[in-house]
């Protein structure tokens, strides 16, 4: 990392030399205006910006335009300008669905944090030579389709599944437990699915943590628990914030997990939106719902990050 400023300086120098040679007045003015390294930074950013515009901003624009339209006779989108879809989106009928989505996502986030933190801590501090192997093991599930991994939970949880069969054969229970198709199975599925999203940012912040500060804490008389609470955890907050955001945001909008592992009363916002795009074929309404969810999430993230301290995210 320490080499970066030097590199940037060198590149900035080269590019400014090129600009001088060509004598392009606009480039010169720009370079003077923003500083030499900025021009290079812009150049380096261009592919990413292009990507974002083409594959994020444009589709979002389409969804925004759709959200003011209406459903045609056969489920096509009729463009227009009306706020009807937004009025329908903020409908008290959906309140249980919204509360449930945020509740499930929050629970899953807490569970991934509780499970992921010790794991990340272990890998970062005690991983030693096996560090990379542990990290690969954390990421290993990504190599299989999420759908297949979720289906395998059905096999584990169902009434003649792994858990119930084992418990029954050990005579711990007489009748199979209703594990599948409950809020429990949905939160379990979300926790399982998003655990790596929590563990990896936690690991990277714990890895970077200056070990001498921990030693200093011990030297100054703090015991292990106190050191963990007052030094390690506060210093790993950037990882905690990144991990909770990476888990919570996709978990709120998830529809695969409640679809496969859920029951009659586990519908989440993602299912509602998905239904508009597929079975109800009301893309305009689905777009308005997506935008409303995005607005709520952005607002939430804004306050969360502000409260947690923006500089911590660096």
């Amino acid at each position: 990392m320490s080499k970066t400023p030097a590199n940037r300086g060198a590149e900035g120098g080269t590019s400014s030399a090129i600009f001088e040679k060509h004598g392009d007045p606009l480039s010169r003015a720009m370079a003077r205006l923003r500083g030499h390294s900025f021009a290079v930074a812009n150049l380096l950013m261009a592919p990413t910006m292009l990507w974002l515009v083409l594959f994020l901003m444009l589709p979002l624009g389409v969804i925004l335009v759709y959200s003011f339209g209406s459903r045609g006779t056969y489920g096509d989108v009729i463009l227009g300008f009306s706020f009807d879809n937004y009025l329908r989106a903020f409908n008290p009928t959906w309140l249980p669905v919204i509360l449930r989505s945020f509740g499930f996502a929050a629970l899953a986030t807490v569970f991934t944090l509780v499970l992921g933190y010790p794991l990340a801590y272990f890998i970062a501090v005690y991983g030693g030579r096996r560090k990379n192997m542990y990290l690969i093991m954390v990421m290993l599930p990504f190599w299989t389709s999420y759908l297949i991994r979720t289906y395998s939970w059905i096999v584990i949880l169902r009434s003649q599944g792994v858990i119930n069969t084992v418990l029954q054969s050990m005579h711990i229970i007489d009748n199979p437990l209703d594990l599948l198709n409950t809020p429990f199975s949905v939160v379990l599925g979300l926790t399982y699915g998003f655990l790596p999203f929590m563990t990896l940012p936690l690991y990277s912040s714990l890895e970077k943590l200056d070990k001498s500060l921990i030693e200093a804490s011990w030297d100054l008389g703090a015991n292990r628990v106190w050191t963990l609470l007052r030094v390690t955890i506060p210093l790993s907050m950037p990882g905690v914030i990144a991990g909770t955001l990476l888990t919570f945001i996709p978990a709120v909008g998830d529809f695969v997990t409640p679809d496969l592992l859920g029951g009659p009363n586990t519908m989440m916002i993602g299912n509602l939106i998905q239904q508009q795009f597929l079975s109800a074929r009301d893309w305009a309404y689905g777009s308005a719902l997506s935008f409303s969810l995005m607005a709520i999430l952005l607002l939430g993230i804004f306050f969360y990050v502000r409260k947690a301290g923006t500089e911590n995210l660096a």
Binding site: R71, T73, Y74, G75, D76, T93, W94, P96, V97, I154, R158, S159, Q160, D178, L180, N181, D259, L260, G262, G263, P264, N265, M267, N271, L272, Q275, F277, L278, S279, A280, R281, D282
Partner: protein
């Protein structure tokens, strides 16, 4: 490669004597294994260079590839290989698992498929959205093999846009040991004794049809009050349900995770293969019937070959082979003599006339679909 192909064709035509249509030639060529091998080989050599198929006026050439998009687990193992050998074309076979997925794919732009297999009401939708094109029946003489009711189906009289593939009913799959008091009635899905062991499908209109039949109403009603009544009835049922799912109930019936499942006939028969206690019944209040039909999307690259394939499927032996494998009923009357007797005589697959009289198709309701959508969302959110 194509030029060579043509030369061989001319050579073969001479060999067989007399001019004939391309299809006729290929049919005859199909009889001679050697020639088939040659044409298959040449087709393979053709690679990505697809022959220009002009299906206008009933003629045309068999393309080197045919893109077939069908429901999963919906074909036997011989039909496609036999077609490939006989016509020297390569069938690229892809699967989907719901009409909604299929529609979304077509709506998102040119799909590149030559044949799709939407369900009856979806054909009306696709016609309304201008996604499918008219079929040249001159290329499908075997259409005469179909039962009259599939030649004059309400959604496509005269088979202008669709050639039926397989048909079935919607009903209740149940475990005859766990549910000893089973009666063929939708009331079973409201029986509190089986709370937590009942599943419903997740198709909006299918779910409402159950309640509407139970209430004695038309499953295609546009009456908001009746739909509301059906919604209340479904809300009552909700605490008894395991879940709403159209994809997992086959396994659940087989593994006895559910005892009573609202489902499609053929799906339940698949569960039957794994668990012989599983049975299927069409409730006496009436139920839905459906037929999945082959259609040609607008802009399909190989329209003529698609029509040749449709004609091939309408051959009695081919239609029978598909039914014998997937356990759905065939729309092909001439196929009856080739269909296994245990399928043909099974009232679960070929219902008795009095049951047939109580079956209805779902109809596309246009803007009134909104009534069902809204009611379903309220049901699921409650």
């Amino acid at each position: 490669m194509k030029r060579l192909d043509n030369e061989v064709r001319v050579l073969l035509l001479d060999g067989l004597g007399g001019p004939m249509t391309r299809r006729g030639f290929l049919k005859r060529a199909g009889a001679a294994g050697l020639l088939v091998g040659a044409s298959g080989f040449l087709a393979a050599c053709g690679g990505s260079e697809s022959s220009s198929t002009t299906a206008a006026g009933g003629g045309g050439e068999i393309s080197e590839e045919l893109f077939f998009y069908n429901w999963s687990d919906y074909i036997d193992e011989e039909t496609l290989p036999n077609f490939e050998t006989e016509y020297g074309t390569k069938v690229v076979y892809d699967n989907y698992s719901s009409n909604d997925d299929l529609l979304a794919k077509l709506q998102s732009g040119a799909s590149g498929y030559d044949i799709i297999v939407p369900t009856d009401y979806m054909i009306t939708t696709m016609l309304g959205l201008d996604l499918i094109q008219e079929i040249d029946l001159d290329n499908i003489p075997n259409v005469a093999n179909l039962y009259p009711r599939f030649r004059e189906a309400p959604f496509d009289p005269g088979n202008k846009y669709s050639i039926p593939w397989q048909w079935g009913t919607t009903g209740i799959g149940y475990n005859s040991v766990k549910v000893p008091d089973f009666r063929p009635s939708w009331d079973m899905l409201w029986d509190e004794k089986y709370s937590g062991k009942i599943t419903m499908m997740s198709e909006i209109r299918d779910v409402f049809a159950v309640a509407l039949f139970r209430l004695g109403y038309d499953p295609n009603t546009r009456d908001a009050a009746q739909i509301e009544e059906a919604k209340q009835m479904l809300i009552e049922q909700k605490p008894l349900l395991k879940h709403y799912s159209s994809s997992t109930y086959i396994d659940e019936l087989a593994s006895e995770d559910s005892y009573l499942s609202h489902g499609w006939s053929g799906d339940v028969f698949q569960a039957q293969l794994d668990n012989e206690d599983v049975m299927y019944a069409v409730p006496e209040e009436g139920s839905l019937t459906w037929v999945d039909s082959m259609c040609i999307p607008k802009g399909a690259p190989h329209k003529y070959t698609a029509e040749v394939f449709m004609d091939y499927v309408c051959r009695p032996e081919v239609a029978a082979a598909i039914s014998n494998y997937v356990f759905y009923a065939s729309p092909n009357e001439a196929a009856e003599e080739f269909i296994l007797p245990e399928i043909l005589e099974d009232p679960q697959i070929y219902p008795a006339q009095e049951t047939m009289d109580k079956l209805s198709f779902l109809e596309e309701l246009g803007t009134d679909t909104e009534l069902y959508n809204q009611a379903y969302q309220e049901l699921r959110a409650s």
